[in-house]
């Protein structure tokens, strides 16, 4: 049964990465996962927190999966060769967090470009969809199947349809907000950053 589904790749094996891996496994997806180093470094943690997820090197995760989640610090994704992602659908779940990424937010996003637009600009041969960034990992971990909304954004119809299905399969309610420029609402200081809401709550935050 698992074979018919997309294979999920997760780059980043920390709080968010492990949580996404667990959600995907619970929805019976096949999952590949990587930290920044040797996969052996994460086998123990994976075996407990996301059993059945396959620890691999980052490059292998990208190559062997259909849809790749970026679940690493925003200041780190450019350490990965953009070419490795060619042809893949990429889900950007990253946020600017000054305590991790440094004090200069302008480097990561500004009035003209959201951080996701910058990710898309870096990954020239891939399609980027933003999703799973606005909720704390502990809420993601414990609130699936509780009518919580995950807001997603992007422009490629096929990629959007895939991500929408993942949101549903992971036990959340999808809400489409627009293109990657619209993700300014999902960034720190934006009304949806940190939002853990049902559909009514999300619409209220957006004044809709």
């Amino acid at each position: 049964m698992k074979m018919s589904k997309l294979i999920i790749g997760i780059v980043g094996a920390g709080k968010l990465g492990m949580t996404l891996a667990k959600l995907a496994l619970d929805a019976s997806y096949q999952v590949n996962i990587a930290g920044s180093k040797d996969p052996a470094k994460i086998t123990l943690a994976t075996s407990v927190l996301a059993p059945e997820a396959q620890p691999m090197y980052t490059r292998d995760v990208i190559e062997k999966s259909d849809i790749i989640f970026l679940a690493l610090p925003l200041s780190k994704y450019q350490n990965i060769d953009a070419k490795w992602f060619a042809g893949k659908t990429v889900v950007d779940s990253m946020n600017y967090w000054w305590e991790i990424d440094g004090k200069t937010s302008n480097y990561y996003y500004d009035e003209q470009q959201t951080s996701s637009e910058k990710v898309q600009a870096y990954l020239t041969q891939s399609v980027v969809v933003k999703a799973f960034n606005h909720m704390g990992y502990h809420d993601l971990a414990s609130m699936s199947h509780q009518q919580r909304v995950i807001v997603y954004a992007g422009t490629d119809e096929i990629a959007l349809a895939k991500v929408k299905q993942l949101i549903i399969d992971f036990g959340f309610v999808p809400y489409y907000i627009g293109n990657l420029h619209a993700t300014s609402q999902l960034q720190p200081g934006g009304v949806l950053f940190g939002a853990n809401e049902d559909m009514i709550g999300i619409k209220k935050l957006l004044n809709k």
């Binding site: 920390g14 407990v48 927190l49 502990h138 720190p188 939002a195």
Partner: protein, 354 residues
Amino acid sequence: MKIDVDKLRFGLDTFGDVAYNDTFHTKMSYRESLQNIIKEGQLADQLGLDVIALGEHHREEYSISSPEVVLGALASTTKNIHLSTGVTVLSSDDPVRLYERFATIDGISDGRAEIILGRGSFTESFPLFGYDLKDYNDLFVEKVGLFNDLITGEHVDWESKHVQKLVNVRPYPRIEGHKLPVSIGVGGTPESVLRTAYYGYSLMLAIIAGEASRFAPYIELYKKAAEDYGTKVGAIGVHSHGIITEDDDDEAYNIGWEYIRNSMDRVGLDRGWPKMTKERYDFEVIKGAYYVGSVETVAKRIAQTISELGLDRFDLVYGTGGQLEKDRMRTIELYATKVIPRVKEILQEANENE
């Protein structure tokens, strides 16, 4: 889970939130706040609490940036209570000085010093002491290695990228008669759990949001890692915020809605988070990370957390967001004299019914 009630330890924690004056509802001066925390620590000792843990913060709303100095004051004016930091931001500290400071507290207090290492909630200490946040992880890895050598060895040699080179060093005074009890404060990073197990340290879970049960996989990971590394599983504890009233749930609820919320919103502002919603607060009070309510309510919730996770230790963070001095004192008093005995009673009953 069956709990060995007699071995349970209960702690009282604070970041040093500056309290509000009972009469005028104005914020205390730092001087008043520090003297107050000493009084609170002394009360905790008199009431028989097992340990007090003081955080290290360098922000306007807190008066404790040098927890060891405050612990030193407590060391000479308390008898039994163990004196801990919670947490010491190891990455921006000097392991040798840390050893010396803790050896000093341990000496003055006749062996009551303990330490919780970690990242803490904030990172303001990094620029303050000339460290680059980017090196956070490497700094921690190197310094915990050196610190461990210092507390386990006699003479220490050390060489690594971010830390001073040491040759045959033996810091003084010595920690005598026992090994300094070390915990690592963990917020949810799997790597920290593994590190705790690797060194055979105790695990202190900082649960500041969400249901306690979500931490069960981390405990499993800790135990499994200890088995893999061949280290001993240390004590497993939880640290969470709380406010206790005698029998009025609403009163405690309202204090929390004013002060805990305020404290969280302040942090949120820095990080671009939204303000806390009533729904979120209610969730945390009813089944999440806030132990807020009457003696009976809080006792039941603590007992549930202890038995769900199989804990050896529970630490209540008091005075979050400042609060009136009388409300802080009341929380400490009720926690020690009524909540803890009731928690033990509930757990004992559960044991007997198993």
